[in-house]
Amino acid sequence: MSSLAEVFNLQLLFDVLRMTTPILLLALGGMITDRAGVLNIALEGLLVFGAFAAVVGTGMTGNLLVGVVAALVGSGLLSLAFAWFALYLRGNIFIVGLATNAFAAAVTTYASWLISGREGSLSYPQAPTIGPISVPLVKDAHFLSFLSGHTVIDYTAWALVLVVSFVVFRTRMGLRLRAVGQEPLAARAVGLSVRRIRYLAVLASGLLAGLAGAQLSLTLGGFVQNMSAGRGWIGLVASIVGSGTAFGSAAASLLFGATEGVANSLQITAPKVPAQLLFALPYVITLAALVFYSATRSRKKGVLDT
């Protein structure tokens, strides 16, 4: 009996890691743009666009790599459009972000209808899905075995935590990024192009969101409307709650990934719990984390002051 409980727990840990990946990638993107002084409401749309592009790319060619590249290119271009409307045409950054989400939802629905005749869902029966990688040694190491069997994107995401942390806090580029976010006027005075650095930051978040989208749709083997399930927002909150660091964002992403992992496994182990309540759970936990984080920050001024 104890082994059964063990298997269940290891399976849960495995699911938690799997569910963490897209949130983690989005949180890293949100953290980079936040450091550059751009509030990235567009993450949700970038994620949806990446997920759709990955399915189309893989479906058309039968090649997973093409799908991932398509996701990166698609989300990257959409993020540049987001930056262009906000930075060049000087639209309100919230509103342009919401527009990006609306545009991604509308275009993917319309395009899936053009391609397959079905609105809001797209899959190619012959297309491959991203398979698991079993890590030697670890996969046999009993209670560490949940670390094995993930996809290449899962492992890349965790490697990117180190990369992003290093680039943002240990390189000249990262210093400039943070300067632009913290004191844009000072950054401009020393000759930095605030706009160019913000473009690059938004592009980085677009590429990360594209990778997150590829992870979502290429493991499932298809695109479904609403498959993003608010992860863009949850990732954004993870970057806020992670207080602007890569490791903090990773920790917050693990918390939100755990919520989704638990909600998923409850659907199987406790079928009496209504699915809709489990779907609502990640939003509630995310809200609780946001409120808790905000409440614990000491503030002298009134909360409505900006």
Binding site: R90, G91, A102, F103, G230, Y283, L287, L290, S294
Partner: protein, 377 residues
């Protein structure tokens, strides 16, 4: 011409340019994807005026958008962003319809009671998002979205668990008693009294916001929290009241859809009323009376797309693409500034947006966003 007049003219032209660009882009997409573009384009642009049914549905589609657009605009006016209107529509629909599905007695007098219940439900959750901001500093931009997203799931839960009609093949409640259905004003279309209510509320909101002290305080809070506070205005209280009004209007839109159009609770009842309310408010430049033409424009886009979807090979989803393009361009300062310069040399400030809370781009200090709480860094 005075500078003020030129400012307005430039703003109007940038609005027209935004809508024009979006419509042209939509037409190009139709032209590229339709096998018979001429027919599809005619259906899309002229269809809504073709007969009583389509024209009535144009007005009817505008009705809930009047309410959600007005609600989002009121929130913007106090400097709040209500991204939870979508969920508040569902909260209102659930509260109002539950009363009408299990009425203590059957009388048309229950209709206003249901409207009040729906407004209260919507107000509660918008207020909650505002309170998390004023009490804990958790930004209402994200908070209202998260609460709204959870509400949509909770709506589905209550519908499936407690209200579902087991004989129907999909999650839907039993129909409302005929007493509780709103009369059709222009049969066979769904146009009903909610449209008139929306217009009246827009006028009332205009008077309250622009002709009363209370409204002045709300707008002043939105323009400058500091200035408002030093003037002795209770900014937190006005912030919360405006959020509650915002949610109430969304909730009423929800129950209006149940009583006037669907006649029952169904999943996907709102169909983006909350999100489209955000764009309607922006097209209206946050002005209550501007909400009326903005909602009619959206009603036109929707019914045009519906006619095109019914009579040609175009997906009605084309409306959503056009709307998102308007969304992209609607706050673009650069278009306004460019037009203002063309009209005559003068200071080109103000521009679209007014009291819109801004993100950080191009600003010396982070503002409005969740990062605002991090001023100590």
């Amino acid at each position: 011409m005075t500078d003020r007049l030129l400012d307005r003219l430039a703003d109007g032209l940038s609005l027209a340019l935004t809508i024009g660009v979006a419509l042209v882009a939509g037409a190009v997409i139709i032209w590229l994807t339709s096998a018979d573009p001429g027919h599809a384009l005619r259906a899309f642009f002229l269809g809504p005026f073709q007969n009583k049914l389509f024209f009535g549905n144009l007005l009817q589609t505008a009705a809930p958008l009047l309410l959600t657009g007005l609600g989002v605009a009121v929130a913007f006016q106090v400097g709040a962003v209500n991204l939870g209107a979508e969920g508040q529509v569902y909260a209102g629909a659930l509260a109002g319809a539950t009363l009408l599905l299990f009425p203590p007695f059957v009388s048309p007098w229950l209709i206003p009671v249901a409207v009040v219940a729906a407004g209260a439900a919507g107000a509660l959750f918008a207020w909650l998002a505002g309170w998390l901001r004023t009490r804990f500093g958790a930004t209402e931009v994200i908070g209202s979205f998260l609460i709204g997203a959870a509400l949509i799931q909770l709506f589905d839960f209550f519908l499936r668990r407690y209200l579902a009609d087991p004989t129907a093949g999909f999650p839907t409640s039993k129909p409302l008693a005929a007493t509780f259905r709103l009369a059709r004003l222009l049969p066979p279309s769904n146009l009903n009294v909610m449209f008139a209510i929306g217009i009246v509320l827009a006028v009332v909101a205009f008077f309250v916001l622009y002709r009363t002290t209370f409204g002045y305080r709300i707008r002043l809070t939105g323009l400058s929290v500091k200035y408002a506070r030093y003037s002795g205005i209770r900014v937190g209280w006005h912030f919360l009241v405006a959020m509650a009004i915002s949610g109430a209007l969304a909730g009423i839109a929800g129950v209006g859809e149940v009583m006037g159009v669907q006649g029952r609770l169904v999943t996907g009842l709102s169909n983006n009323l909350g999100w489209n309310g955000v764009t309607v408010a922006l097209v209206a430049r946050l002005h209550p009376l501007g909400v009326i033409p903005a909602a009619l424009l959206y009603g036109y886009l929707h019914s045009g797309a519906t006619v095109a979807g019914l009579t040609s090979d175009v997906s009605p989803r084309i409306a959503a693409i056009i709307q998102s393009l308007i969304f992209y361009l609607i706050t673009a300062q650069a278009i306004y500034v460019w037009l203002r310069r063309r009209l005559g040399a003068a200071r080109a400030n103000a521009g679209p947006g007014g009291a819109l809370p801004s993100g950080a781009a191009g600003r010396p200090r982070r503002q409005g966003g969740p990062s605002a709480a991090r001023s100590d860094r």
